[in-house]
């Protein structure tokens, strides 16, 4: 069942006299429960596509329908409400709020939802537990390692139980061990919780965790590769997984 449907999706920016077109008439279907990796050289339109799917950017032309909602038809406020309900975003640089603790960072998106303090507490505790960082709940971002920060960011992205999880180079700023741990975590979220994940990556090694990989160039889809071999994923050492 298609969750994300892109038809003729185009995004243009005007920079002085020049028109830059990072996305150029892209057609794409992403089924529910997919784990999609987007690869391509810089400027190929990966992040632009990700931002359009996340509802933080708008297409210049074409349609983008997610879970039955045409995002182009939503005004700013309704789009914000839609993001709050349907999207969890994981950034390359984590983008945690520095003056908030891990717990408070994860609680942030829940402040937009109608729920009691007790319900929020339970949800945050569950999310932190799921990403394996519950014991660091009172730490500020500056007191965490990069891998731990990214786990907090993932907890923040999943705490509202969003329809889609988008990740922009989630391992781009991490060492190899932390990167593997984060990727395994995303894979678990996809496999065990059925989260639909769209991830931008430069690292071919991380694509093996995805179900399929799309290669973009100059704003167009140029190639699709199939799911990575389970054997490759199983080869991740135990201590890294921990």
């Amino acid at each position: 069942m298609t969750l994300i449907e892109c038809r003729g999706l185009t995004r243009e920016y005007r920079r002085g006299e020049n028109v830059i077109r990072p996305l150029d008439g892209l057609d794409l279907d992403v089924p529910r429960g997919d784990f999609l990796a987007l690869m391509g050289p810089s400027g190929s339109g990966k992040t632009t596509l990700l931002n359009l799917i996340a509802g933080i950017d708008r297409p210049t032309r074409g349609t983008l329908v997610i879970d039955g909602t045409d995002l182009a038809q939503l005004g700013r406020s309704r789009l914000a409400a839609w993001r709050s309900e349907h999207v969890g975003y994981v950034f390359q640089l984590y983008n945690l709020v520095p003056v908030l603790t891990a717990y408070e960072n994860v609680e942030l998106p829940l402040l937009l939802h109608r729920m009691s303090a007790k319900q929020r507490h339970d949800r945050v505790a569950e999310a932190l537990e799921l990403v394996g960082i519950a014991d660091r709940h009172g730490h500020y971002p500056r007191q965490l390692s990069g891998g731990q920060e990214q786990r907090v960011a993932i907890a923040r992205a999943i705490v509202t139980d969003p329809t889609i999880l988008v990740a922009d180079e989630p391992t781009g700023d991490l060492d190899k061990a932390s990167a593997s741990a984060v990727m395994q975590l995303l894979q678990r979220l996809n496999r065990e919780l059925g989260k639909t994940i769209v991830m931008v990556t430069h690292d071919p090694g991380t694509t093996r965790y995805a179900k399929r990989t799309l290669h973009l160039d100059k704003g167009r889809l140029v190639r699709e590769t199939g799911p990575a071999a389970d054997a490759e994923i199983a080869a991740v050492p135990e201590e890294v997984a921990a």
């Binding site: 632009t48 931002n51 996340a54 933080i56 950017d57 700013r76 406020s77 914000a80 409400a81 993001r83 709050s84 309900e85 999207v87 975003y89 950034f91 640089l93 983008n95 709020v97 520095p98 003056v99 908030l100 408070e104 942030l108 998106p109 402040l111 937009l112 303090a117 923040r156």
Partner: protein, 382 residues
């Protein structure tokens, strides 16, 4: 303005950016201290010089004289003034001041007929010592609360000022501004101690039956003594203070511009703090919007931070000014007329309200800018 569950978020942003908040709050507090002090002076001046419907007192002074040292009137004017239709009483007063010029610490002695004074001031409350002691002793004075507090005077002590050595029979509280910085003694005691001599006084305080009679009675008094050797000028009590202390009133009026300057400084400080904060948190605000916060909500959070910082600074500065005014019991005294610097809860509350408005104004533009940014472009910029 913002949902209740967002308030802790605003508080954390302000409290946990400790250095930035402390510096901004300190700057605001200093400016608001000055502003509140100016407002306190203005409030005191207004209370001392603004005529109200309840005013029924006239002050009769020597014509063309502005200082108690040079205003000399025969004491026997009293009986002639009391014969004028509408006059309830005329109280001769000998005024002696420790300093004729404008000062924050002037001791003013007022020699009055004791029983007449008590009849005129039924509402005074002796908070230390006793009235009986004051009645009994010829060198006794009743000291206004502000003067006693400023000079550390208590009942039973003697003190020297303006060449007079007086015994403090009591300290009293009065609603009248002039009383708070005055020591009241027997008329003869002050006349003799100041070497002015008996039979001559500085002024008469004339009480009339009704406020509507003030102007007519004043004219009649001045007309009565127009050709006398010591002609008079008669004013309502508030107008008299305003005339004597006109320089002070003018200075306080000018000081209000300084107060407005202080507010401008507060506005600039808060605006600067918010602009720097917003510029440094472009990505953070974009993240909030990515999470689903609307641009409007982000804007309101920014404004709320500005309001909170402004209120913190305003509370510290205004409270410090109010406490200083209360403890110091300062009064701007000129020619024996005291204009108390009055600061209380209303001034504190108005200071806070002004800071709240300044916080909103200072935050509006950066908040609006932050709310209108394209989210994706914020991440590209970082």
């Amino acid at each position: 303005m913002i949902p209740g569950k967002m308030v802790p978020l605003v508080v954390k942003q302000v409290v946990r950016h400790r250095a930035r908040t402390l510096l901004t709050v300190a700057g605001i507090a200093i400016a608001m201290f000055l502003f509140t002090a100016v407002q306190a002076m203005h409030a005191g001046t207004a209370a001392a010089t603004r005529r109200t419907a309840d005013d029924t007192t006239l002050v009769v002074y020597r014509q063309d004289r502005f200082c108690p040292a040079t205003s000399v009137l025969p004491q026997d004017y009293e009986s002639r003034i009391e014969r004028i239709e509408g006059v309830v009483s005329a109280m001769p007063i000998q005024v002696v001041v420790s300093n004729c010029r404008t000062s924050l610490d002037v001791v003013t002695f007022r020699g009055v007929p004791k029983e007449d004074f008590l009849a005129e001031r039924p509402s005074i409350e002796v908070i230390d010592g006793s009235i009986e002691d004051w009645r009994r002793r010829t060198d006794a004075v009743l000291v206004g609360e502000a003067l006693a507090s400023r000079r550390g005077l208590r009942a039973g002590q003697t003190f020297d000022a303006a060449g007079i050595t007086a015994y403090v029979a009591g300290v009293f509280r009065s609603a009248q501004a002039q009383d708070q910085n005055t020591a009241y003694g027997a008329l003869e005691f002050v006349q003799l101690s100041s070497r002015k001599g008996l039979g001559r006084v500085t002024q008469f305080n004339v009480r009339v039956r009704d406020a509507s009679m003030l102007d007519r009675v004043a004219d009649e008094i001045d007309e009565m003594f127009r050709t006398a050797q010591e002609p008079t000028s008669t004013y309502t009590e508030k107008a008299f203070v305003g005339r004597i202390a006109s320089d002070v009133v003018e200075l306080v009026g000018f000081a209000r511009w300084l107060g407005i300057g202080c507010l401008a400084a507060v506005l600039t400080l808060v605006a600067n703090a918010i602009v720097l904060s917003v510029q440094g948190r472009v990505a953070e605000h974009a993240v909030l919007q990515t999470l689903g916060f609307t641009g409007g909500l982000v804007a309101r959070l920014i404004v709320a931070e500005g309001v909170l910082v402004a209120l913190l600074g305003g509370a510290v500065g205004a409270a410090a000014a109010v406490v200083a005014a209360r403890l110091g019991q300062f009064a701007l005294s000129v020619e024996g007329q005291a204009i108390p610097i009055t600061a209380g809860a209303p001034l504190l509350l108005s200071g806070l309200a002004i800071c709240g408005v300044i916080g909103v104004l200072a935050g509006l533009v950066p908040a609006w800018q932050a709310s209108r940014r394209e989210i994706a472009s914020c991440f590209r910029a970082v």
